[in-house]
């Protein structure tokens, strides 16, 4: 009997949801299905991410990073190296897979960190307003005028023996500002809605109002911003590695491979050293961006195409 009652309720629930306005997930799904490019991008991005993460389990990193100068700059296909070898005789394909995994993991952890800081600081700033807002926003302004790449390079070159975790924290410290500003503006648009006032008169605490009432209402924007931050953070990490200030020497990154293009001699003579990495990077960031754009359209009803 109770079972019947329950399934009836479930039914009602589902009916109610489908009849009127589709849920967020459904809108996102529809937007992506409608936009062929977004769908292709999603699959390509997922393929690259999964391939590099799963593939890296099958690669013996110690063996990969053994210097073998007799086999340096082998052409693709020679001696079992599908994409050839580099300066130190490292297998380019293996290096690329592990490097892509590292770059992606760096990007993901940076994006998570930046979004968390942005949501927390931005929401506090917008919700409390007044002097709190003023102080936080001046701190944001201060960080914004620091040229982020130069600052990271300077600190990294002073800091000996830093770990990838240190680097993530350092990079996050230099790039949390724009997300914070976005979150602040989103929270400001919600702060004075009547439902927030109603929660206040219902005796709900400030933190609960911020994270349980306001946050779900802008979750779509957060997902969207996450993907776009992810793409730009992968780019940032690659830039640093390319310049030689990124991940520590023994940790491969896509940027290390692209770095071979920095030397004109290498760039022209050994294109297999840097080209595959560059192509992987471009495809990955472009497809994440395309997918992110579709998410953004799903989040904003006026931009929707489906």
């Amino acid at each position: 009997m109770a079972e019947v009652e329950k399934s009836k309720l479930e039914n009602q629930k589902n009916l109610g949801n489908e009849e009127v306005t589709p849920s967020t997930l459904k809108t996102i799904y529809r937007e992506i299905i409608h936009d062929k490019w977004a769908m292709v991008s999603l699959f390509v991005a997922l393929f690259i991410i999964l391939f590099s993460i799963i593939g890296s389990f099958f690669i013996n990193q110690d063996k990969l990073l053994t210097v073998d100068i007799f086999n340096s700059w082998l052409k693709p296909g020679q001696a079992g190296h599908i994409l050839g070898t580099d300066n130190s005789g490292y297998d380019i394909l293996g290096f690329l897979i592990v490097g892509a995994r590292n770059s992606i993991l760096m990007g993901v952890s940076l994006a998570i960190l930046i979004e968390s800081i942005g949501i927390f600081v931005g929401f506090i700033s917008a919700y409390y307003g007044g002097i709190v807002d003023l102080i936080i926003m001046r701190i944001v302004d201060f960080f914004m005028i620091i040229p982020q790449t130069m600052a990271v390079i300077t600190i990294v070159s002073i800091w000996k023996n830093y770990t990838p975790v240190n680097l993530v924290l350092l990079m996050a410290a230099m790039s949390w500002m724009s997300t914070t500003r976005l979150m602040r503006s989103l929270a400001l648009s919600q702060r004075d809605r009547d439902y927030v006032l109603a929660s206040k008169t219902s005796g709900t605490g400030n933190f609960k109002i911020i994270f349980r009432e306001i946050l779900p209402n802008i979750s779509t924007f957060i997902i969207t911003d996450f993907t776009l931050t992810l793409a730009s953070m992968i780019g940032f990490e690659v830039t640093l590695s390319y310049l030689g200030f990124g991940l520590p020497d023994k940790v491969p990154s896509i940027g290390t491979l692209i770095g071979y293009a920095g030397d004109t001699n290498y760039m022209l003579t050994y294109p297999w050293g840097w080209l595959p990495a560059l192509i992987t990077l471009v495809i990955l960031t472009v497809s994440i961006n395309f997918f992110g754009q579709a998410l953004r359209r799903a989040a904003d009803a006026r931009q929707r195409t489906a």
Binding site: L9, Q12, K13, G16, N17, E19, V20, T21, R193, D194, Y195, L197, A198, S199, K200, T201, S202, G203, T204, E213, P216, N217
Partner: protein, 321 residues
């Protein structure tokens, strides 16, 4: 013994400007207002847009901070957050909002919306809470199935009833209803107002009914105040104000009520024009130099009726009509 007393309430908003962003002046949204509400009564607060009536309501429930003055509830000044917390003030004083859609969180189910005050102020088990929510939905005439729906799935009248259910969920003593029906069409207005009256009878709740609709207030309230420019111009019982208006602003407001009988149309128009002309001629006498409404004075021959009349005015003796 009144349930809540508002004493000399002032809510001023600073106007900042200039190079150093200094305070150049104030918007006096509420300027020295006194008001008290009896248990179980509906008190009407009438005024045009921007007269400060909503600000009074929001100050009473504690979401707007007063510049000065006090609000006394159970002998404590509840303009201080500490006292509000101590008394669990918002369990006893709740609010119904004008815009029913924006006052319900679009991401929450009706169940969670109505249960929010219960979860904060009372410790009930899940089944008890569920039971209470169903009971409340029943009181406002909504089917039980609506518990699991979202706010956008309902019409304006239904949403406003959900708002009422949330407001009464902790059995409050006073509900501030900020234009609860002005966004609804006429038939739905009557329905929502009737639900409010039923609830009032059932739980002995006081209402502070904020409205610009003279008909609604006449239907609902025994005592009422007319407000303009942040001040009360006239306070009294329904009969005092509707039958014997003293202030020219009140007269002008009452003259604006349309009459459904078309036979009197020409006379009504004439009367309206006369009131309007009187208002324009005498306006200066009824307000002070800064266009501020004068202080309230008792009207002779009544102990409930107060009006902001000038010191010497022959018109006061003539009385209303």
């Amino acid at each position: 013994m009144s349930i809540i007393e508002v004493k000399n309430l002032k809510v001023w908003y600073p106007i900042r400007g200039g190079f150093f962003n200094t305070i150049k002046g104030y918007v006096k949204a509420v300027d020295d207002v006194n008001l008290s509400i009896e248990p179980g009564e509906t008190y009407g607060l009438i005024g045009e847009s921007g007269s400060g009536k909503s600000t009074i309501g929001k100050t009473i429930v504690g979401i707007e901070r007063p510049t000065s003055g006090s609000i006394i509830y159970k002998g404590e000044d509840v303009t201080k957050g500490r006292n509000r917390k101590k008394l669990k003030y918002n369990r006893d004083v709740q609010m119904i909002f004008q815009d029913s859609l924006s006052s319900l969180n679009p991401r929450k189910r009706i169940n969670d919306i109505i249960a929010e005050p219960i979860r904060n102020f009372e410790k009930l088990s899940k089944t008890e809470e569920n039971h209470r929510v169903k009971e409340l939905l029943d009181i406002v005439g909504m089917p039980k199935g609506s518990m699991y729906k979202y706010p956008f799935e309902f019409s304006g009248g239904q949403r406003q009833r959900i708002g009422i259910a949330r407001a009464v969920s902790t059995h409050p003593k006073l509900i501030v209803a900020d234009e609860p029906v002005s966004a609804l069409d006429l038939s739905v207005q009557a329905q929502v107002l009737n639900y409010m009256q039923d609830i009032q009878k059932e739980f002995n709740i006081s209402f502070l009914l904020i409205s610009h609709d003279l008909g609604v207030v006449r239907h609902m309230c025994k005592n009422l105040s007319i407000m303009t420019r942040g001040r009360f111009v006239e306070v009294g019982t329904r009969e005092d104000i509707y039958d014997r208006p003293q202030h020219i602003y009140t007269k002008r407001l009452l003259a604006a009520i349309p009459d459904i009988n078309p036979r009197n149309r020409q006379e009504d128009t004439k009367e309206r024009l006369r009131v309007e002309a009187e208002y324009e001629n005498d306006e200066k006498a009824w307000y002070d130099k800064n266009h501020r409404v004068l202080d309230l004075k008792p009207v002779s021959g009544s102990n409930t009726h107060y009006a902001a009349v000038p010191e010497s005015n022959s018109m006061v003796e003539q009385g209303g009509k």
